[in-house]
């Protein structure tokens, strides 16, 4: 378990909406369960910082970008369905 990489996430949300809150809490819960102590989350409010969103090509919110480790992935939505998220992050086998 020593060589396990750090997961770096960037989560784009739009203002203080229900979707935003849900996405943030879902991501936090997921990280706590599957990636304890090896995750780094940056939350960007697209309303306040639209230029970064444009640079990243974000059109749907919430959008989660997995910056590392490679391969990078994008997950759109509130992350309420855990299974596809785990699959996308390559954490499927890692039981809680």
């Amino acid at each position: 378990m020593s060589a396990k990489p750090l997961f770096r996430f960037r989560l784009y949300v739009a203002g203080n909406t229900h979707n935003s809150d849900q996405a943030i809490s879902n991501l936090n819960a997921l990280c706590r369960a599957y990636l304890p102590d090896r995750h780094d989350i940056e939350v960007i409010d697209i309303v306040r910082d639209p230029d970064r969103a444009a640079a990243d090509g974000i059109f749907m919110t919430p959008t989660l970008i997995k910056l590392g480790p490679v391969p990078g992935r994008r997950i759109v939505g509130t992350l309420s369905q855990t299974q596809p998220v785990l699959q996308a992050l390559g954490l499927e086998g890692a039981a809680a």
Binding site: F59, M60, T61
Partner: protein, 580 residues
């Protein structure tokens, strides 16, 4: 990205409509799309939605000085620009200044978990709008994005979110959505039907194939607060983009009318028409095959070129060079005008497609050539298979367009010999629209076919109602009088014979007259001679008489002197002397 902030100007009361730059669509809607509102553009695959949307932005950028944003959900901006390359829109020059593309394609390996909304996109676009000062925005293939949303309610919610944002920003928006092909009527039943109730204007593009001929139609379905042309109008994606063919709409300015006459190229025909065709008139020449319709229209083209007017000759029957050769055989020489660029010959024999395509192409070519006179030979080609339904309206629009352009139009129309022996209606029924209708016919008489020409109608012109004979020779086209004998007109050989016999009769009469005069001259001369001789005789007689009297006197005198002498000699008595 960072640009000077353009604050929205406190514009003077803006017109409520903003032009799309799509010819025809602006006429149908009475000025364009609703300014500051959202317009929905629905159409099947390949119906031209993207091109129409892009043209709307290009026109805004180039003509209306309105910056535009193109949000592409389906194709990359590079592909869209590449596809529009053929239209000559100078996209590279506009891009980044007055035209901005936003690539909003969902990535194919996108993972979805839970619901999402479009507020991210709106935030991005808001910043972009502010940075560029954009007034127009296009969402191309929004259905791609909507399809990702899990349920109907979410789709509806996002649409309302988008719509509200657009209204709040005062952007003139065009949203395109895919619809099932060939099903514009039931568009209301389609998943995005609620969009149609939401927006202020909805336009439907329809693409059908009738008898193998593609027909594209555009219909304005709704337009809040404005009247509009509700009919389906054919459209075409031509060389300069999207073009809608609209019929004349009410309230449009009438074309200027002149009294100027232009020659038909046949002098006697000009006389028959009281000086020629009117400038800007539409002339229809009908007739059976081989009645010299092409020749007559060729004569018109030659006359136009002689006057130095730019002319276009569209032939659906022959190649350009064939036309030149064939017309040269009857003394109509077009070659030099083709060479000096005055005349443009278009051979449209191989073009297939809808009547609409023909019309738009002819219009484009005529505009390109800035033609003042136009010949279409024959216009009846328009009603070829698959086009029967539209051909009439196309012909109508052809005439309407040429009139409003001031182009003098001569079109020939082939009559089917079997179908209508009578001088009945032409198949396109444009005879009612044409200003001048010349009918060419064969008169079969005494084993010959001869060409007869008559003017069936000519608006605003006193015209001869006689059937004349049209004679083609290598010296040109002439019209001659026909002989009327016993209620029948005589043409060809019979006319020639009649002319011959009349000529002979006059010759004989003339000869007889001349002979009689000679005879009279002779008689007169003879009489004169006789008069002279008689006068001479008379003179002689008179002289003789004088001589006679003289002689008698002399005789008398001599006699008396003799007598005296004798008396003297005889010593006659004094009585006798005294008696002397």
């Amino acid at each position: 990205m960072k640009k000077t902030k353009t604050t929205r100007r406190a514009a003077p009361p803006a017109p409520t409509k903003t032009a799309t730059g799509v010819p025809g669509l602006d006429q149908m809607t009475g000025g364009g799309l609703p300014r500051g509102r959202t317009t929905l553009l629905v159409g099947g695959p390949g119906s031209g939605k993207t091109i129409l949307a892009l043209q709307f932005l290009v026109h805004g950028a180039e003509v209306e000085n309105e910056t535009g944003i193109f949000v592409a959900f389906e194709e990359t901006p590079a592909r869209i620009v590449g596809n529009a390359e053929g239209f000559g829109w100078n996209l590279p020059g506009l891009m980044g200044r007055k035209l901005h593309f936003v690539d909003a394609q969902p990535s194919p390996d996108l993972v979805q978990s839970g619901t999402f909304d479009l507020s991210g996109m709106l935030a991005v676009l808001e910043s972009k709008t502010r940075a560029t000062g954009a007034r127009r925005i296009v969402f191309d293939a929004l259905d791609i994005m909507l399809a990702l949303l899990p349920d109907e309610a979410a789709k509806r919610r996002e649409m309302y979110r988008l719509h509200e944002w657009l209204v709040a920003k005062g952007l003139t928006a065009l949203v395109t959505l895919k619809a099932d092909a060939d099903d514009s009527a039931s568009v209301v039943q389609q998943p995005f039907s609620f969009m149609q109730f939401m927006v202020d204007c909805a336009v439907i593009l329809n693409h059908t194939v009738v008898l193998g001929v593609s027909q594209r139609n555009l219909r304005v379905q709704k337009y809040r607060g404005s009247s509009f042309d509700e009919n389906e109008s054919p459209f075409l994606i031509g060389s300069s983009g999207f073009e809608v063919a609209v019929a004349r709409t009410l309230g449009r300015m009438d074309a200027a009318v002149t009294n100027e006459r232009v020659s038909s190229g046949v002098r006697r025909l000009d006389t028959m028409l009281g000086g020629g065709y009117y400038r800007g008139a539409s002339v229809l020449i009908t007739g059976f095959p081989g009645t010299a319709k092409t020749t007559l229209s060729g004569a018109f083209a030659e006359a136009a070129c002689k006057r130095g007017e730019r002319t276009m000759f569209v032939s659906f029957d022959s190649d350009g060079n064939e036309v030149i050769r064939n017309l040269a055989s009857v003394g109509i020489k077009l070659e030099r005008y083709v060479r000096n660029g005055l005349l443009r010959l278009i051979s449209a024999r191989t073009i297939t497609g809808s009547a609409e395509t023909y019309l738009v192409r002819i219009k484009a070519l005529a505009r390109e050539h800035s033609a003042r006179c136009l010949v279409i030979d024959p216009v009846s080609t328009l009603s070829k298979a698959g086009n029967e339904l539209t051909a009439h309206s196309v012909a109508e629009r052809l005439i309407d367009w040429s009139k409003s352009d001031g182009t003098t139009l001569v079109c020939t129309s082939l009559l089917d010999e079997m179908a209508s022996q009578a001088e009945g209606g032409s198949p396109l029924q444009i005879s009612t629209l044409a200003d001048t209708w010349i009918h060419l016919n064969y008169l079969v008489q005494a084993g010959e076919r001869n060409r007869g020409m008559s003017i069936i109608k000519s608006r605003g012109t006193a015209h001869s109602n006689q059937v004349r004979e049209l004679i083609l020779s290598d010296a040109g086209v002439t019209v001659t009088d026909t002989y009327t004998a016993g209620g029948e007109v005589l043409m060809g050989t019979m006319r020639w014979e009649k002319e011959g016999s009349v000529r002979r009769a006059t010759e004989v009469a003339e000869m007889a007259g001349r002979l009689r005069r000679v005879k009279l001259d002779a008689e007169e001369a003879e009489l004169a001679v006789r008069v002279k001789s008689l006068q001479a005789e008379l003179g002689a007689k008179k002289a003789e008489k004088v001589l006679m009297a003289l002689t008698a006197e002399i005789d008398e005198r001599e006699m008396s002197s003799v007598r005296t002498r004798m008396g003297e000699l005889r010593g006659a008595d004094a009585a006798i002397r005294a008696a002397r």
